[in-house]
Symmetry: C2
């Protein structure tokens, strides 16, 4: 009997279509209910439903493809039901393109001092007012359904990079059990906002332990999901260690599904991960570093508060087209020294434009079959 190779299941709300492969690197298109974006893509982080210092209209103008918001923060304030009543993330925040929400799993790591894990879920003490927030796989999915993103994430346990192997192993086990519950909760909703409208991604954990990464990936693959994420990186490990994990894990993921590396990273981190087959990224760096007076360039971060820029009529990098890119460095330096919020806004705009352009250059290199050369050139020039 002939083997029937089936295409994507018909009810998958988010699909990734491959356009070109070059080594492990891939260029493609991510189709969502709110638009199709080219990959590799960088997703800007709007933790509380808004980018810090950049409006949704500006983000659109910069070609921002996907916006990311946080379950934990929005559940605490203003509450998922309220976001839902205000029209869901797309209308609430005035960004009509695709959204992704994380599950709160990352806060299990980042807010370790304020939470207690048990088998059923995690109890947080709010970073705002100390009130209690209980997240379980079911509750995380319920919240994310109310937020209404196109892509939602399974609730996972993310251990720190220096966790002992038994701790990582326990987290992998729990992540697997929580994934099954996340999937069940996701599939149980058939109507509006259910699994036909939101795509659930699984998250592969396992730290830097190959055996555990393999086990976590194998478990995730037992669920036929629209996308797969690599979690538990960018939590303190060196770039080298991260690359080793990606070299091992990415080939274990299905070739026809989008692959999302969570919380990464610097421009160099991104081009390294693209080389290893990652399609989606998110990170607070472009806006956070922008607020701190840092502009990303091919040569590395440019610290515009430094006195050497005070008299400079040169643009940031002369290549990244944005409102900030048309201004003299001396002006940006002045705004930053004067403590004007406009300085941070303009550098955030530049950084988002730079990241966007970097992803477009990765795509072009992949399509031209010269990604290895692009990567080598980028590595040789970029300095932290």
């Amino acid at each position: 009997m002939a083997v029937v190779v089936t295409g994507p299941a018909d009810d998958r709300p988010v699909r990734w279509r491959c356009e070109a492969v070059d080594g492990e690197a891939r260029a493609g298109w991510l189709a969502t209910p709110h638009g199709t974006v080219p990959t590799p893509c960088f997703m800007a982080v709007a933790t509380c439903g808004g980018l810090k210092g950049v409006t949704a209209e500006q983000a659109k103008g910069l070609g921002q493809g996907v916006m990311l918001a946080n379950t934990y923060h929005l559940a605490l304030r203003p509450g998922a039901e309220r976001v839902h009543r205000l029209g869901g993330l797309h209308r609430f925040a005035g960004f009509s393109g695709p959204w992704l929400t994380d599950s709160g799993g990352y806060q299990v790591f980042s807010l370790a001092a304020q939470r207690k894990i048990d088998e059923d879920g995690v109890s947080f003490r709010s970073h705002l007012d100390g009130s209690a927030l209980r997240l379980t796989p079911e509750e995380s999915i319920r919240i994310q359904r109310h937020l209404g993103a196109d892509i939602i994430m399974a609730f996972d346990e993310c251990p720190p990079s220096d966790a002992p192997e038994p701790v990582v192993e326990a987290a992998v086990g729990r992540t697997a059990r929580w994934l099954a519950r996340s999937v069940a909760a996701w599939r149980s909703e058939d109507g509006p906002g259910g699994h036909r409208h939101q795509a659930l991604y699984a998250i592969v954990q396992g730290g830097t332990v190959p055996r555990l990464r393999a086990a976590s990936a194998a478990d995730a693959l037992t669920h036929d999901l629209p996308g797969y994420a690599v979690g538990g990186l960018a939590v303190g490990e060196p770039l080298e260690a991260r690359n080793v994990v990606l070299d091992q894990v990415v080939p274990l993921l299905p070739a026809d599904r989008p692959r999302y590396l969570m919380g990464v990273g610097t421009p160099l981190d991104l081009v390294e991960a693209v080389a290893r087959g990652i399609d989606q990224f998110d990170c607070v760096l472009p806006t956070r570093m922008g607020r701190h007076g840092i502009a990303y360039t091919d040569d590395g971060p440019l610290r515009l508060k430094r006195a050497e820029h005070a008299e400079s009529t040169a643009p940031i990098d002369g290549a990244t087209a944005s409102e900030a890119g048309a201004l003299p460095r001396g002006y940006l330096h002045h705004l930053l020294k004067a403590g004007e919020i406009l300085g941070g806004q303009l550098l955030s705009i530049h950084n988002l434009a730079y990241y966007r352009r970097l992803m477009a250059r990765c795509r072009a290199a992949i399509r031209a079959g010269r990604y290895a050369a692009f990567l080598a050139e980028f590595r040789s020039r970029y300095r932290e």
Copy 2:
């Protein structure tokens, strides 16, 4: 012999052309070396060369006509020569439309505790680091020449609203002597950046004393200048007192020159002053109040931090077109409560759009000969 009515002197770099008059109110066009803008017009305040929370491109998109910057602040940081070397305000700050710079005279009032006045000028102690800044009429004009605005202001002495009459009288005398020196300094520069490229406006002082206002206006008119400003208002006096001053002073100013009311004000202040023949305004209120969570509407300031807006899907006013105007109030409320700078940015955008639209409505009412009705309707609805 027939009286020859001459048009504007040929070397006047800024001219105002009347389009319609309705009572004392006037609609027209202000032509500058960097573009022609409709009047009445509101000029947004970019104290240090940048709007707080709104980029120059956004300002352009909102139809912002003229941008205002401050001599005192820019002289201290980054220094006028540096702004000049970085291309002057237009290129420095990336706003290619018309600019106006004040003279530092307002800081004689607002920084009263940090300055000493003598007949020659004013010695400031910097609000930044306590260093000395000396402003004289000649130095103020020199700085403004370096900043490169289209409209520059004479250096004046602005007394507080509760100053005794002898103090106001002394300030009027000094303002007259400083105006003569400002004019001489302005006319002395014939080349690039001189009086053929920058328009000097005189400032009429005199507090709320009709005799002193008349004397100050008469003195200002002895200099045939491209424009005339009413200063020394919006310094603590009630709106009623201000309207009385405008009723008296504006008719003393030449009908063919633009009239600028400095530092005013709220939407109601503006429509009242337009009724009295003012063409240009500036004020920090739209951006400052925006940062504090307040949106201007025809009904008065809307305080979006209030709990009543938390669940509101209504737009701010349903009439002012801007990015902020398309968002639900509940989202703006959320951003403000969460301390997200984006909230203040969006309300600043709304407020600038509202002021712009208000000026356009004033123009339309004047052109239609129904300004009195427009004013009456506005007064009856607007509540502080």
